[in-house]
């Protein structure tokens, strides 16, 4: 627009110039130099106008640039601030979920304030954790995140590869495998005095999970073949999705499976052993048991996928050998091996089926010398469920891979009280609330949530009081013990705020079972147990 006005003015000036020239032509009295002067004046004026136009044009251009910059800045601030403010308000105002259906777990709760927790930094960290863990629509966002990560890689052989692929044997004889030997590990479990003398084992696992009571060994009469542990092998297994140590893989049979790869750190073994030994030392009159529950990584996951130098089995033996002789070790290999062909583990979830937990509980009951209810004394249920690895990997191949979840509710009489982490009474509720549990969070069937401390009073009538110090894994085992102990206290060490030895003393524990996976014992849960043992 500025340019048009200037052109107009220029045209007017030219018109004036033409009129002047005309006038000069018509006036002979005017001197030549006079004429030139006039012309020069007009040309100068024209030139001056042109210069002014140029200046205006440049100034306008600068103004335009400034305006554009200001507009861009306003857009950037406005859009980003609006997005930020709306998201912040949504995160603060919208109701927060309490359960993750895809991960099958209760989400974090807002922490209770204590000065101790504050000064240790735990209180603040727990608030951050609560905020991050309970984001509204968290499962949807996690799914979007997984979808985004799937864009990182190529699709190979019809399988979408995302995240990372580790320790996979391609099955191609031309390629090198950087994992450990794929040769199956064979070990022999010493069932009796005779058998332990007869066959030497091939690895350090052959020393077995020692410490199991003689009674246990004597009573077990597995078939000869069942005494041999052969590490599962599938050289053609290919990992198709991974999140941390949780993987989805395609086996040589073409089916999709899920696993949580064992990732224990043997260098932390002393903490767990020290804790268990201390418990026994401080509770000399109680029977103290250690159960390092073996998982599907020992029984099902192909050994070719292993990511550690040691196996779960060898580490569990390693830890057990550090325990004092007074500790009774519950050998879950021995308990489960005879049943390895039964459905004792999920194929797409990190937990064992309750049937596996039942056999482990049976082994424990024998070691404790208490009666143990036969499966006939339970009500059996079954429901199809989706395993937890799907939630972590978001692998499509697992989304519809439901499998049967069998569970057993004991028929005898018992009541269950639920307490908070400070052992303050909360409510009474069924031990296994079959009527209102969620199939997408199926492990919460066992005693509602790990965060509660449970007190189970049964009709066993034998005066035995059991305290179970555990991670989440043995949850399925506790209901199998309602015929075996008169009182059972169940404490998940992750949700406990008191000295567990003092607790055992105060509640007259005759038996203390420390049960968790080997990886838990070698990780933070082992550290937590150590902390709770020494807590003043």
């Amino acid at each position: 627009m500025a340019d048009n006005i200037n052109d107009k003015e220029l045209e007017e000036l030219n018109e004036i110039y033409r009129q002047k020239m005309e006038a000069l032509k018509n006036s002979p009295k005017h001197e030549h130099e006079h004429k030139n002067k006039k012309v020069k004046t007009v040309v100068k004026a024209e030139s001056s106008e042109k210069s002014s136009d140029k200046k205006n044009s440049k100034s306008d251009s600068v103004n335009v640039d400034d305006r554009k910059k200001k507009l861009a800045i306003r857009i950037n601030i406005g859009v980003c601030t609006a997005f930020f403010a709306i998201t912040a308000i949504c995160l603060i105002v919208l109701p927060r979920p309490t359960v993750s259906e895809t991960e099958k777990r209760n989400l974090a709760t807002f922490p209770d304030f204590t000065w101790k927790a504050y000064w240790s930094g735990d209180y603040a960290e727990d608030i951050s954790y609560y905020f991050n863990d309970t984001v509204p629509f968290r499962d949807t966002f996690k799914s979007i995140g997984a979808t985004f990560r799937s864009l990182f890689g190529f699709s190979i052989d019809g399988a979408e590869l995302n995240g990372t692929i580790s320790q996979v044997n391609s099955g191609n004889s031309q390629t090198e495998v950087t994992t450990q030997s794929t040769k199956p590990i064979q070990i022999v479990i010493p069932q009796t005095t005779e058998s332990s003398d007869s066959t030497p084992a091939q690895t350090d696992e052959n020393s077995s999970q020692t410490g199991g009571s003689d009674e246990t060994s004597a009573d077990s009469k597995p078939k000869p073949d069942d005494s041999v542990y052969i590490a599962p092998s599938d050289p053609d297994a290919v990992i198709v999705a991974q999140s941390g140590t949780q993987i989805a893989y395609v086996g040589s049979d073409g089916n999709v499976y899920a696993a949580v790869l064992y990732n224990g750190n043997r260098s932390n073994a002393e903490d767990y052993a020290y804790s268990v030994n201390t418990i026994k030392e401080k509770l000399p009159d109680a029977n103290v048991y250690s159960m390092l529950a073996l998982t599907q990584s020992t029984f099902i996951t192909p050994s070719e996928l292993s990511i550690t130098d040691y196996t779960e089995l060898s580490d569990s033996v390693f830890i057990s050998n550090m325990l004092s002789k007074d500790i009774k070790v519950i050998d879950t290999l021995e308990a489960l091996l005879p049943h390895k062909d039964e459905d004792i583990f999920f194929l797409r979830d990190c937990h064992w089926q309750q049937l596996g937990a039942y056999y482990a509980a049976e082994s424990f009951a024998k070691a404790a010398g208490v009666k143990f209810a036969d499966l006939k004394e339970y009500d059996e249920y079954g429901e199809y469920c989706r395993g937890s690895v799907y939630a972590a990997t978001q692998y499509d191949g697992l989304s519809e891979a439901y499998e049967m979840f069998n569970f057993y509710v004991p028929k005898n009489k018992y009541t269950t009280e639920y307490y908070n982490s400070k052992y303050e009474y909360q409510f009474e509720y069924p031990l296994m609330p079959t009527s209102d549990y969620n199939s997408n969070s199926f492990y919460s069937l066992f005693m509602v949530a790990d965060s509660y401390i449970k007190h189970i009073t049964t009709d066993a009538g034998n005066g035995r009081v059991l305290v179970v110090l555990k991670d989440d894994y043995p949850s399925a085992m506790v209901p199998c013990l309602t015929s075996s102990f008169e009182e059972i206290y169940v404490i998940d060490v992750r949700y406990c705020d008191f000295n567990v030895i003092d607790f055992c003393k105060e509640h007259g524990a005759t038996d203390v079972l420390i049960g968790m996976t080997t990886e838990s014992a070698l990780g933070e849960i082992g550290d937590t147990l150590s902390y709770l043992v020494n807590l003043q």
Binding site: K68, K69, K70, L71, A72, I73, R74, I75, N76, I77, V79, C80, F83, F84, A85, T87, A88, L91, I92, Y118, W119, G121, A124, E125, I127, S128, F131, N132, D133, V135, R138, F141, K142, G145, F148, R149, F152, G153, F154, I156, L161, G163, T164, I165, S166, Q167, V168, S170, T175, E176, V177, T178, T179, Q180, G244, T245, N263, I307, T308, D309
Partner: protein, 467 residues
């Protein structure tokens, strides 16, 4: 508290901005920054707030006394005393265990090894304090007469725990007089969004690759190609992690009206190691250059011995472990070689060759940086050239590369100044609004995607947090 955390982004930062901009006067804004910085620091480790405040108080009085007795011996004495205490605190908390362990190893005594918990960010705020004291002593700055203003400078949460190391002289005038323009706010927003994206979208996902092979995998059996692949990915991870943090810090500073110096300028495009260190962690490099390199400690031999000292300290600053010292001296060695060859001759090297030389040296350097276990470091170095009998190629690494091909390619591209070049090009084509609108969309996308990836995220700490 860390930046890459939903609670920080949507609660802490939001409340801080609201409180900051409600206040109109600079003095109140300074107090807002102090209060929020204290909450930020106390979030995970409340006890160490006392150490931070105590350290500031001590150095505040030291500064006053240095100024009062300027040009006298007392001034030197107070400077020395302050430095000894500051460095002493750093040594006690960061290096005491390492020093005692090594002393025990070379002597017949067996002293108990102290297990001291290290306060977060102690290396960074100690260096800021040292720069303040030395600048006071040398008369480069006016001593800060107000305790709370010095506290604000040291404790300012954007740069408190992981840098950049902001010199007092850089923000001296802005403590009392700062103007916040809409351009500053816009630039600050962009830096925060881009920094968060670098950390959460790029660095965190690169870390999964690194962990797969270096942390969880069997290093001894990793192929030559796999080792190179992983260490290159690790170099990029550290770059995006640390420069992302610096971007957020600089962006927050801009919104609050402070103009911190840049800490990274695309270091991987360097043609030699000298240039690399002029582009990588600039605030640390300039700190050692200004406060150590030209200090005449070693008299006539200072040219080489000061260089050795600088690179020893650079390595040691990163951690109490031998691999960090080796890492520092490794770079010092190459810088010495480059100095010996001379700039002119170095410039004559063909560009492609120069980039290859720089990249190889830098990448191997990051391998040294990663492995705190010297045994594993040896295995890593052997792996690079196949000395451990490892294969040249393996399917696992190849599959991992394919599984993460786009991520790695995008990261390689973003290591180069492609985005600024693209913006410049668009602006030169009179497409200014397209360029800026594109940046806004990128900002929102980066912030939104980072937020999604942070939902229930684990394994998220900044690498330089530990230093």
């Amino acid at each position: 508290m860390i930046f890459a955390d939903l609670f920080f982004l949507y609660v802490f930062m939001a409340l801080c901005f609201i409180a900051y901009f409600i206040c109109r006067k600079t003095v109140y804004r300074n107090w807002v920054l102090i209060v929020f910085s204290m909450i930020f620091y106390a979030w995970g480790e409340p006890v160490w707030v006392f150490l931070l405040v105590g350290s500031v108080t001590l150095n505040y009085f030291a500064g006053i006394l240095i100024d009062k007795y300027r040009d006298t011996k007392k001034s030197t004495m107070f400077t020395a005393a302050a430095l000894i205490i500051d460095i002493g605190v750093l040594v006690v908390f960061k290096y005491s265990g390492f020093l005692v362990e090594n002393f025990n190893a070379i002597s017949p005594v067996d002293l108990p090894v102290p297990n001291v918990e290290m306060p977060i960010g102690i290396s960074f705020f100690t260096f800021q304090i040292i720069s303040y004291i030395l600048d006071c002593y040398w008369g480069k700055i006016k001593v800060q007469k107000s305790w709370y203003k010095l506290l604000m400078y040291i404790s300012m949460f954007p740069q408190l725990v992981a840098g950049p190391i902001v010199r007092y002289s850089v923000i001296e005038s802005e403590i009392d007089n700062r103007v916040i323009t809409s351009a500053d706010i816009s630039e600050g927003i962009t830096r925060i969004c881009m920094g968060l994206g670098k950390k959460v979208i790029l660095a965190n996902n690169l870390s999964i690759i690194v962990d797969t092979f270096f942390k969880d995998g069997d290093l001894a059996s990793l192929s030559v190609m796999g080792t190179w692949y992983t260490v290159i990915v690790y170099a990029m991870q550290v770059y995006f992690d640390f420069s992302g943090y610096s971007d957020i810090a600089i962006g927050l500073g801009r919104i609050f009206g402070f103009h911190f110096d840049e800490n990274f300028r695309y270091p991987f495009i360097s043609k030699n190691i000298t240039e690399f260190w002029q582009r990588w962690h600039i605030s640390l490099g300039t700190f050692f250059r200004d406060y150590l390199l030209y200090v005449p400690i070693f008299g006539k031999r200072r040219k080489y011995l000061n260089l050795f000292l600088v690179w020893f300290c650079t390595g040691f600053w990163h951690g109490a472990n031998w691999n960090y010292i080796i890492w520092g001296l490794y770079f010092g060695m190459f810088i010495l070689i480059e100095r010996t060859i001379g700039n002119k001759r170095m410039r004559k090297m063909p560009t492609a060759l120069a980039h290859i030389y720089n990249t190889i040296v830098v990448v191997i350097g990051f391998g040294i940086f990663y492995f705190t276990d010297l045994g594993k470091l040896g295995t890593f170095l052997g792996n690079l050239i196949g000395l451990n009998g490892n294969a040249m190629f393996d399917m696992i690494s190849a599959k991992n590369m394919m599984a993460n091909a786009w991520l790695v390619i995008v990261c390689i591209i973003l290591c180069m100044p492609v985005v600024p070049a693209l913006k410049k090009k668009l602006e030169s084509m009179d497409l200014y609004l397209l360029s800026t609108t594109g940046q806004t969309i990128l900002n929102v996308a980066s912030f939104a995607l980072s937020s999604i990836l942070l939902v229930n995220a684990t394994n998220n700490p900044f690498i330089y947090w530990q230093f």
